[in-house]
Amino acid sequence: MAALTPPAGTAAQPAREAAGRRHRPRLWRGVVGLIAALYFLGPLLSSLLFTVDVPGQGFTLGSYSGILGAAGFWSSLRLTLELAAATIAVTMLLLVPALIAVRLTAPRLRVLVEVLCSLPLVVPAVALTAGISSVLQWGPDDFADTPLFQTFNTVQNPGFPVVLLLAYVLMALPLAYRTLDAGLRALDLTTLVEAARNCGASWPRAVLQVVLPNLRGALLNTGFLTLALVLGEYTVASILGYQPFAVWIVSIGGSNAQMSVSVSVLSLVLTWVLLLLLAAAGRGRSARPPRGTRTSPAAPAPTLQEKS
C-alpha cells in the first residue's frame, strides 16, 4: 500500500505552488475592486451623507421629501419615462426588421446601413439641436396656412414632444445598430429562417418565434443603452426648451445645494433601478440556462456511441 502513496514532499510542493499562483490573481482582483469601489462609492456616500446630515439638525430626510413635493418632479419624471419607452419602441421597430431584412435579402446593403446608422455619431448634439430648431422655425414662417402647420404644432407639443423622441431615436441609432448587429452576427440567420419555414412557419412567424427569441440578449442590451441615453440626455431637451428629468434636476439644483445633490443621488438610484427592472423583465421571460454554463440536471450522460 505504502508504495502506491506518492512521497509527501513531491506531491505537496506543486500543490502549494499552484495554490499560490491561484491566490495572486484573487488578491489583485481584490485590490482593483477596492480601488474601483472607492472611486465610485466614495463620492456617492459623501453625497448621501451631505444630504441626510444637515448641520444643526442632525439626521434628516428633509431634502428627499422636499424633492418629491417639488414642482415639476413628477411631470418631468413621467415625461422622461414616456420618452424612454417610446424611443426604445421606435428604435427597435425601425431597426430590427430592417437589419433582419438586409441580412437575409440584400447583404450588400449592409455597409450602407452601417454608415447611415453611424452618421449621428459624427453630428454633435448641439449641431443636431441647432438644425432641428431652425427647421421647426419654418413652421410659422412658411407653412402657417397649410395643413402641415398642424403637424409642426403636434410635433412640439410640450406634453409629449415628438420632436424630442425623433432626436433621441437618431441619437440611439448608432448604439442600437451595433448591439443588434452583434447579436445577428452570432446567428446563422439564413439557416435558422429556412429551418423555421421548412417546419411550416410563415415569414412573420419565423421571425417572431425563431429569430427574436434568439436575439433576446441583443434586444435587452439595446433597451439598456437606449434607456440610459434618454435618462441622461440634457443638451437637446434643454436647448429645445423641454423639461424632462435631467433638465429638471439642473433647474432645481441651482436654487438649493443640498437639494441638488440629493436629486443627483436620486437620479442615480432611479437609473439603476430601471436597468435592473429591465434586466429582470428580460431574464424572467424564459428559464433557459445561459449559453454553455450548466447542464440541465435532468439530462443523462451522452450515449456511448456518440462519445467517440
Binding site: 446567428l187 446563422d188 439557416t191 435558422l192 429556412e194 429551418a195 423555421a196 419555414r197 421548412n198 417546419c199 411550416g200 412557419a201 410563415s202 412567424r205 419565423a206 425563431v210 427569441p213 434568439n214 433576446r216 424564459s286 433557459r288 440556462p289 449559453r291 454553455g292 447542464t295 440541465s296 435532468a298 439530462a299 443523462p300 451522452p302 450515449t303 456511441q305 456518440e306 462519445k307 467517440s308
Partner: protein, 363 residues
C-alpha cells in the same frame, strides 16, 4: 423496437411515398450555371442519392424542392403536381441541413415539436409525438437538452427527428453527415437508411461521398455541372457506368492507352483485343478505363511492367504498376498475393476477356 417507435413509424408512414420529378430545371447565379436542364425522377419510397463533385448543383436542386430557391426555367413536380407557386412553409418537405440548424433557444423536444406547434397541435399531443420521435432516432433521454449541450451527431439526429415530425411527403437530406467524424457518420448512415426504409418516405440524399451514396441508396444520380449524367442502382452504376465521368467518379479507374482495331468494335489494350462496352468514339486517341479489381498481375522477370507502390487496405492490397510507356495502372490483389510482389518487381498485366469502356484520351 419499442411499441412507441412502432407507432411513430406507422403514423409517419401514412404520409410517405411521393413521386418527385425535376423537369428541365435551369438556374443561373450571375455567370455561374448551377442547374443546366436537370431531369430527374425519384420513385415513391426510394432513397435517391444525388452524387457529384462540389458545385455541380446538388444543393440548388434540393433547395428548389424545399422552396428556398426559384428556378429560371423548368418544373418541380411532387406526385405530378407543380409546386413552383407553393411557398416553402407549405411544401411538406422535411429538410436536414448541412450545417447545424437547430433552434438554439429550444430544447431537443422543443425543436422536434416546433413544426407541430406551427400546425396548431395541442401541447400534450406535441409532447407525446416529440418523445416518440426522439426515441425513434435514439435520443430518448435527451429531450431537455439545448442544442449547445449536444454533440454534432446528436444535433443531426434531432434535426432528423424534427424533419420527420412534419410527416413530410419528401425527406431532403443535404450532406447531413459531412460535419461529423467518421465513426458517428457510419452509425448514423445506417440508422438513416433503416428509418427511411421503415417509414417508406421518398428521400433525396445529397452527398459528394461516393461510398456513402453507393452504400445507402436505392438509386444513385450522378450530377455533373448541373446536368444528370446517369441514374442507376449502385451495382449497375459501378458495373456499367454510362459515361467515363461516371466511371471515374464512382470507384477507382485506371486509364490505359487503347488503339482501334478490327472493324471498329474492338480495341487493343496492352496487346489484347477486347470488345468495347457502349460506344466507340470515331476519332482521336483513346484510353481504356479499367477497374483495379479487373486487372490481373503476375510475376514475370521478362514482363516490361514494374510494381512501383503498394497500399495495404486490409484483405486486399492495391498495387500501382508502371507500364513501359509510363502509364500507371492500379490493381487490387489479395494481400497474400501482393506480398510476393514488392515494389520493384517485374510483372505482366492481363485484362479479362470482357468489354471495356473507352474514352477520348485526356492529356
Amino acid at each position: 423496437m419499442t411499441a412507441t417507435t412502432a407507432e411513430a413509424s406507422a403514423s409517419a408512414r401514412g404520409a410517405g411515398g411521393a413521386t418527385v420529378e425535376f423537369h428541365r430545371l435551369y438556374r443561373r447565379f450571375g455567370a455561374t450555371v448551377a442547374l443546366d436542364g436537370l431531369d430527374l425522377t425519384a420513385r415513391p419510397g426510394e432513397l435517391l442519392a444525388l452524387l457529384g463533385p462540389s458545385g455541380c448543383g446538388k444543393t440548388t436542386a434540393l433547395r428548389m424542392l424545399a422552396g428556398f430557391e426559384h428556378q429560371d426555367a423548368g418544373d418541380v413536380l411532387v406526385d405530378g403536381e407543380d409546386i413552383t407557386r407553393v411557398p416553402a412553409h407549405r411544401r411538406g418537405a422535411g429538410m436536414v441541413f448541412q450545417s447545424y440548424s437547430l433552434f438554439p433557444h429550444l430544447t431537443a423536444a422543443g425543436n422536434v415539436a416546433f413544426g407541430m406547434r406551427m400546425r396548431g397541435a395541442g401541447k400534450s399531443e406535441r409532447h407525446r409525438r416529440a418523445g416518440e420521435l426522439l426515441d425513434l432516432v435514439g435520443l430518448a433521454g435527451l429531450a431537455d437538452r439545448y442544442p449547445h449541450q449536444m454533440s454534432g451527431g446528436q444535433q443531426q439526429r434531432v434535426a432528423l427527428a424534427r424533419a420527420l415530425a412534419l410527416e413530410p411527403r419528401v425527406l431532403l437530406l443535404d450532406e447531413p453527415l459531412s460535419a461529423l467524424d467518421a465513426k458517428v457518420r457510419l452509425t448514423l448512415r445506417e440508422e438513416i437508411r433503416r428509418l427511411q426504409q421503415e417509414l417508406g418516405i421518398t428521400t433525396l440524399f445529397v452527398t459528394h461521398d461516393q461510398e456513402e451514396a453507393l452504400s445507402m441508396a436505392d438509386r444513385v444520380a450522378v450530377l455533373r455541372a448541373g446536368r444528370l449524367e446517369q441514374v442507376a442502382a449502385p451495382a449497375e452504376l459501378y458495373a456499367r457506368p454510362a459515361t467515363s465521368f461516371v466511371a471515374e467518379f464512382v470507384g477507382t479507374m485506371s486509364r490505359i492507352p487503347a488503339v482501334r482495331t478490327g472493324n471498329g468494335a474492338q480495341v487493343e489494350v496492352m496487346g489484347a483485343r477486347l470488345p468495347v462496352q457502349g460506344e466507340l468514339p470515331s476519332y482521336g486517341e483513346l484510353d481504356a478505363l479499367v477497374r483495379p479489381e479487373a486487372v490481373r498481375v503476375a510475376l514475370d522477370p521478362r514482363g516490361g511492367a514494374t510494381v512501383v507502390a503498394a497500399s495495404f487496405l486490409g484483405a486486399i492490397t492495391r498495387v500501382t504498376v508502371r507500364l513501359p510507356d509510363g502509364t500507371e495502372v492500379k490493381a487490387d490483389l489479395p494481400t497474400e498475393t501482393a506480398a510476393v510482389l514488392p515494389p520493384g518487381s517485374a510483372v505482366t498485366l492481363t485484362l479479362p476477356e470482357r468489354p471495356v469502356l473507352v474514352d477520348h484520351r485526356v492529356v
